[in-house]
Symmetry: none
Subunit: 137 residues, 4 copies
Amino acid sequence: MVVKIDFNSSEAIYIQLRNQIIMGIATDRIREGDTLPSVRQMAEYAGINMHTVNKAYSVLRQEGFVKLDRRKGAVVSLDIDKYQALEEMRQNLDVVLAYGICRNISRQEVHQLVDLIYDAYLKGCTGCQESGGITEE
Amino acid sequence: MVVKIDFNSSEAIYIQLRNQIIMGIATDRIREGDTLPSVRQMAEYAGINMHTVNKAYSVLRQEGFVKLDRRKGAVVSLDIDKYQALEEMRQNLDVVLAYGICRNISRQEVHQLVDLIYDAYLKGCTGCQESGGITEE
Amino acid sequence: MVVKIDFNSSEAIYIQLRNQIIMGIATDRIREGDTLPSVRQMAEYAGINMHTVNKAYSVLRQEGFVKLDRRKGAVVSLDIDKYQALEEMRQNLDVVLAYGICRNISRQEVHQLVDLIYDAYLKGCTGCQESGGITEE
Amino acid sequence: MVVKIDFNSSEAIYIQLRNQIIMGIATDRIREGDTLPSVRQMAEYAGINMHTVNKAYSVLRQEGFVKLDRRKGAVVSLDIDKYQALEEMRQNLDVVLAYGICRNISRQEVHQLVDLIYDAYLKGCTGCQESGGITEE
DNA sequence: GTGGTCTAGACCACT
DNA sequence: GTGGTCTAGACCACA
């Protein structure tokens, strides 16, 4: 997994980091039980401040993606409330799709995009245990 | 159209306002050529500061949803770059779907949500010219 | 001469009108001694407010392009202070060229543009008394 | 580099600041990669309000002169679209030269002014790293 | 300590 | 009466 921060982005760095970790989990490059790099390691690896990594990890914990363990660090552990997850998804899609509708993006185009993205994530899911990942083991 | 600001939300007020106006356009409650209320009117209506409304309108202008006509104020005018719109949509969906995949939301569930939302927006499109809207004329 | 106002421009309407009249004079489509349309006529012709036309004419008077006569209206009359004109030109060019230098526009390219524009204005100078002009006689 | 605001000018303060920064870049007193002073520092230095500086920086960002780096602040970074730059230059010159033509300024005089200004900017380019500049490092 | 956000009040330019 | 500008003070998110 590669972490790539865009320092010119209007998106906060900790949000960028959070998103990339979530995408890493979605592609199964990071698996349940894996340990994320320590705050210090991740900070050096991504070229950002330790506090910023800390913030990202805290958010991930609050959202139920990792558990913070004093000894092992941040362990990926998916704590799912399906109902709440669907509700959040609905709200997120609501804004994103409204934006698209204003730009004349059709329902079919959205469905295609959804399939495209799901395919990409599931492909990543099956076979790509390439080396050089940042997770420890 | 109803503008409802959640002052407890972590989302910036001007972003909330922007989103609701975009949703208003998506549901066709606000139409191309309509004039948005003046910043002062909208500010009073939504219970927020004039400058905050200004910021929201500026963002909408930059995003190509409204044009500022020196005589009429903020006029809804959709300036669409379809290619760019699709690319933005792809990026937005990428994060949102990754989040959902981590929460075990299936491809089918997403498709259902998309249809649900599209139906809601298109229904608003056909017949509900209820009075009391905020756009002038 | 055609007056074309861009209501979406960030430039004030009266400035747009002033600029177009100045360009009209530069191309010799409007000549010394010509009378500009009355405030009322110009307002209707350009689709703008009388006050706005008034403002533009006042600016032109202050800048020494026209004389306002109660009976004849706005008469083109070039009142030139060459020294001051050169100084103004220098200041205007200063900002415009700095902007260009930052964008890697070469001295040669500027000279070419200057020639291009001068040619255009002087060509307009010699033979194009096309009908439909807005000046009265 | 010296920032000097004319509070009696009809030109908006944030535009004056923008222009002076652009001129600073043109004279190479501010270089690509330099960091502009923080909004607070610049505000104190120029004797104006923080928010006004902010506005100037925002405009510069939109025009592609600086990028906002979340760590370092406003970093000078020239994002050039040569074609667009030439078109803007043409439009700017169009008005400025029309003005000059009305004042009997000859093509030769303009060429001389252009050379004069280019010389001044390029001279600043070669050797004057005088201390006391406002950019950091 | 940085920029971003929000609020507020005042003045002006413009239409 | 409109938006634009400027100032000001406060709080927060971010690094």
